[in-house]
């Protein structure tokens, strides 16, 4: 019966507990105030009921202090709500640096997830327990919304830019994934499952997955296919800025503005190269809008990030090594989760799919919630 008629959602992430605590605090405060007001209304209505037709109540002087009091008093609990709420919001808005990245592409009406190891799945997301997972999401059409109630996280997924959210699951199991922003006919069918697995089971799942190649490796192929390196190289006098180690770093633009080169910056620079020109370079890059799709953009960005990661590691920038090194810092920075070994090592040097675009949009659209990869056993 309880399974059929739940009154409270499962709490399965590191933030869900703090959101629930906030919720109970508000219920307590608001419930108390409502109860006092309702009891007073009922009490007054009975106590001061009219007894004679022409009865006129006695006038009394209205105490000003009372009025001022109930203007000021609510401010205190409200400020607690505000500050506490802001604190929780900031936690959810800021993914930890060592989070495992998952790329999500939303389209009418399905979710596609790509793992750093190259596995991809439709309407299913497999993640390890006790490990922070950052979801980097973009939409191919309208606004969608990535929502996992058990984790208490939600973010609108907009076209033409990346939205991020993150969670760290604390319990293994299968949890609802909903699209929470109305997106057209099959909005209520744009649902899926997040499967949280023990690290070992997760590794097994990763190993069994069909992979098209890691996004970084696929990105390298694209990078060469579009001859990006003919301009973006480290040689002096090159026509475009070198990309080794630039990810996440600030750069000064023409006109003096300084921006951080994050995912959204790289995305814009590929699709609208004229929008932001790096100081010292000419606006000569053509747009790649219409040539690269969402999945390929993610791959290109993953590749550029990998260039950054290997430089951070201190070694010379060699793209081939960078692909594998992409998530190495993430894995090593998590000594607490000893059972979670370096993930990409599972899929070294995978051959890239010949046509990444076709595979990004062609699979599993009718899958009604089935995984392309394979159904993982519930741990």
């Amino acid at each position: 019966m309880i399974d059929d008629f739940p009154l409270f959602p499962e709490s399965a992430s590191t933030v869900s507990g703090s959101v629930d605590a906030l919720y109970f605090f508000l219920i307590a405060v608001c419930g108390f105030v409502s109860l006092v007001v309702i009891i007073l209304i009922i009490f007054f209505a009975v106590r001061y009921r009219r007894t004679a037709d022409n009865q006129i109540p006695v006038e009394y002087k209205e105490p000003k202090a009372l009025e001022i009091g109930w203007i000021i008093a609510p401010l205190f609990p409200m400020m607690i709500m505000f500050l506490w709420g802001a604190k929780v919001y900031f936690t959810i808005a800021r993914p930890p640096d060592n989070a495992l990245e998952v790329y999500a592409t939303a389209r009418q009406w399905m979710w596609k997830f790509q793992h750093v190891g190259g596995q991809s799945e439709i309407n299913e997301l497999h993640v390890p327990v006790n490990r922070a997972v950052k979801v980097l999401a973009a939409s191919e059409d309208v606004i969608h919304d990535f929502y996992v109630p058990a984790f208490r996280v939600k973010t609108d997924v907009l076209p033409n830019r990346y939205s991020t959210t993150w969670f760290q699951a604390t319990k293994t199991g299968r949890y609802h994934l909903f699209c929470a922003e109305y997106c057209g006919t099959q909005h209520s069918g744009m649902i899926g499952w997040v499967t949280v697995m023990e690290p070992a089971a997760y590794q097994q799942w990763l190993a069994g997955g069909v992979t098209e190649g890691t996004p970084g490796a696929l990105g390298k192929v694209l990078f060469e296919k579009y001859a990006c390196n003919s301009c973006h190289n480290a040689e002096s006098g090159s026509r475009g800025p070198a990309l080794d180690g630039v990810f996440g770093k600030p750069v000064s633009l023409r006109g003096g503005a300084i921006v951080r080169r994050d995912e959204n910056y790289l995305r814009e620079s590929i699709l609208n190269p004229q929008a932001k020109i790096v100081e010292g370079f000419e606006p000569i890059m053509p747009t790649f809008k219409g040539q690269v799709n969402e999945a390929e953009l993610i791959q290109l960005i993953a590749y550029i990030k990998s260039l950054g990661a290997s430089t951070e590691g201190g070694g010379p920038a060699t793209p081939a090594k960078g692909v594998d090194g992409a998530t190495a810092p993430a894995a090593t920075a998590q000594p607490g989760s000893a059972a979670s070994p370096s993930l990409p090592a599972v899929q070294p040097g995978v051959a890239p799919a010949p046509d990444a675009r076709g595979s990004a949009s062609g699979v599993g659209t009718e899958g009604s919630g089935s995984s392309v990869v394979r159904e993982a056993k519930r741990p």
Binding site: D3, F5, P6, F8, P9, V19, Y23, C30, S34, V37, I38, L40, I41, F44, A45, Y48, R50, D53, N54, Q55, I56, P57, V58, E59, E62, L66, E67, W70, I71, P74, M78, M79, M81, F82, W84, G85, A86, V88, Y89, I92, D141, I143, Y147, P149, K154, D156, L158, P159, R161, H176, F178, C179, A180, E181, Y182, G184, T185, H187, S188, I191
Partner: protein
């Protein structure tokens, strides 16, 4: 205070000619410039739209009895909730209290013969009817499926339904609302009876004044924003569609800049009605009159500064989210002030629980829950979880249906004797009030739980574990439907069989109770001169129906 002399003009109890029988014939109604007749025209037309919007709601609740989307197709369901929202918000809630009760009562409360611009008032009704006609055409052609929020780029580039026609309907209806607000502001400023100073005004007038400010300043923004959506659809250019260089968040900012204050267009008049009814049925001046009056203006002002709390998960910066969260808490203060003052008014009052008072007390209870759950949504960390779930659906129905519609019914029952000169059957009216209150809570309280469980709104089919709460909600909706149907029957009955009301059946203060029921065409035989404070009750007013 008891020494003030009250000038009550001598008026015969039974008035032979009044605004209803001064002229006859269809044209005397369609071309009338009398604010009372225009109020009646609005009453009839918003009732039709309420029935239409309610019909859509019934169909939705029927679909949601089972988890599978088995009764309608997804497209049909999406059109149902879109049309339900559009009809109820633009064609029922926004015009309900202002255009029906405000139109009828406001000039009489001011001791004026009419609104300042009677022709514009009639034009406003015609614009409303043209907007209605567009929306009915949309319904007949197959509907629209964008959600009442018209979010881009879905509405501009993806929906294949009649978005442009619906936008024209909402645009035209918007102008009807602008004209009403504009007329009220000028009338309140310039046409008060001699002696009727600002602080002698009934609180309903203060509320309507604040509402009118929002209508004037907010409505044009939505009008032009929706026009841009239509232009984008027609020309295939990108203003809001990111694929062509536009910014979908710009649309959301502009949309909520109006649509959040629009909630106050619905709730402020409801608060005004509640103040009138509570004063009348406790026979006391509202506790903290000036605080209640200014809180209306504070709500109107702060209401314009909180729109982005609808966008906490839409991708705005964390710092702007913080500012809007803080301001959203502040707007709760003037609403709380009103609730506390109404409660305090009951203290040592002479309380008579008749139908309007039942509805008004019901309003306070439901608005309390609606308003308090608003705090949950202003709390940023919590909003992430409940945003776009049934928690939101429950919250705004508590405010807009539990709040505005309850107060609308309170107002209609309170002023019905003045409007028609007849009393409705009190017993049936109380039954209806209790049914509406019970049915409402049964319908919408489970939705708070559903929302926190994570059921997203606008879902045609849902996960089986949500079924029991949805069945409860649908069961409540059927009780609610009976509750709403009853008044239509007994009000119609009362027109012929109701007993004569007399000028002041409640023994209430306010200029509207000092003219005849129904009032003559120019409201008063001689312009009243006000020498008393607001809500100064006199035993000699008695009340024939108390």
């Amino acid at each position: 205070m008891t020494t003030a002399v009250i000038d009550v003009p001598e008026i015969p109890e039974v008035e032979k000619t009044n605004y209803l029988n001064q002229e006859f014939g269809v044209m005397s109604w369609l071309l009338t410039q009398d604010h009372k007749r225009i109020g009646i025209l609005y009453l009839l037309s918003v009732t039709v739209m309420f029935l239409l919007g309610g019909f859509f709601a019934v169909l939705m609740r029927l679909e949601l009895v089972t988890p599978a989307g088995d009764l309608f197709s997804s497209d049909t369901y999406n059109k149902l909730f879109t049309l339900h929202g559009l009809v109820m918000i633009f064609f029922f809630l926004i015009p309900s209290i202002p255009a029906v009760l405000g139109n009828f009562i406001l000039p009489i409360m001011l001791g004026a013969r009419d609104l300042a611009f009677p022709k514009l008032n009639l034009l406003s009704w015609y614009l409303y009817m043209i907007g209605t006609a567009f929306s009915l055409v949309v319904v007949l052609l197959g509907g629209v499926d964008t959600g009442w929020t018209f979010y881009t780029p879905f509405s501009t580039s993806f929906s294949n339904t009649h978005v442009v026609l619906m936008i024209i309907g909402a645009f035209v209806a918007g102008f009807s609302s602008i004209l009403t607000g504009f007329n009220f502001i000028v009338t309140i400023h310039r046409m008060r009876a001699p002696g009727l100073t600002w602080f002698r005004l009934p609180l309903f007038v203060w509320a309507m004044y604040a509402t009118s400010i929002i209508m004037l300043l907010g409505t044009p923004v939505i009008a032009i924003t929706l026009s841009l959506v239509a232009i984008e659809r027609l020309l295939h250019v990108g203003i809001f569609d990111p694929a062509i260089g536009g910014d979908p968040l710009l649309f959301q900012h502009l949309f909520w800049f109006y649509s959040h204050p629009a909630v106050y267009i619905m709730i402020l008049p409801a608060m005004g009605v509640t103040s009138e009814v509570i004063a009348a049925f406790t026979r006391r001046r509202i506790f903290g009159y000036k605080f209640v009056a200014f809180s209306s203006l504070a709500i109107a002002f702060l209401g314009f500064l909180v729109w982005a709390h609808h966008m906490f998960v839409a991708g705005i910066s964390v710092y702007s989210a913080m500012i809007f969260s803080l301001l959203s808490f502040l707007v709760a203060i003037p609403s709380a002030v009103k609730v506390f003052n109404w409660t305090a008014t009951l203290y040592k009052g002479s309380i008579s629980i008749q139908t309007p008072m039942l509805f008004a007390l019901g309003f306070i209870g439901l608005f309390l829950i609606g308003g308090m759950t608003g705090l949950f949504l202003a709390t940023m960390g919590l909003d992430i979880h409940v945003h776009d779930t049934y928690f939101i659906v429950a919250h705004f129905h508590y405010v807009m249906v539990g709040g505005s519609v309850m107060a609308y019914f309170a107002g209609i029952h309170y002023w019905w004797p003045k409007i028609t000169g007849r009393m409705y059957p009190e017993w049936w009216a109380r039954v209806s009030a209790v049914l509406i209150f019970t049915g409402f809570n049964l319908t919408f309280f489970p939705q708070f739980i559903l929302g926190y469980l994570g059921m997203p709104r606008r879902y045609h089919a849902y996960s089986p574990e949500f079924q029991i709460l949805n069945v409860m909600s649908s069961a409540g909706a059927s009780i609610l439907a009976i509750g709403y149907a009853l008044p239509m029957i007994y009000f119609a009955w009362s027109l012929k069989f109701g007993k004569a009301a007399g000028n002041n059946p409640w023994g209430a203060a306010g200029l509207e109770w000092q003219t005849t029921s129904p009032p003559p065409t120019e409201n008063f035989h001689t312009t009243p001169v006000v020498t008393w404070e607001a809500y100064e009750y006199r035993p000699e007013w008695g009340g024939s129906n108390v």
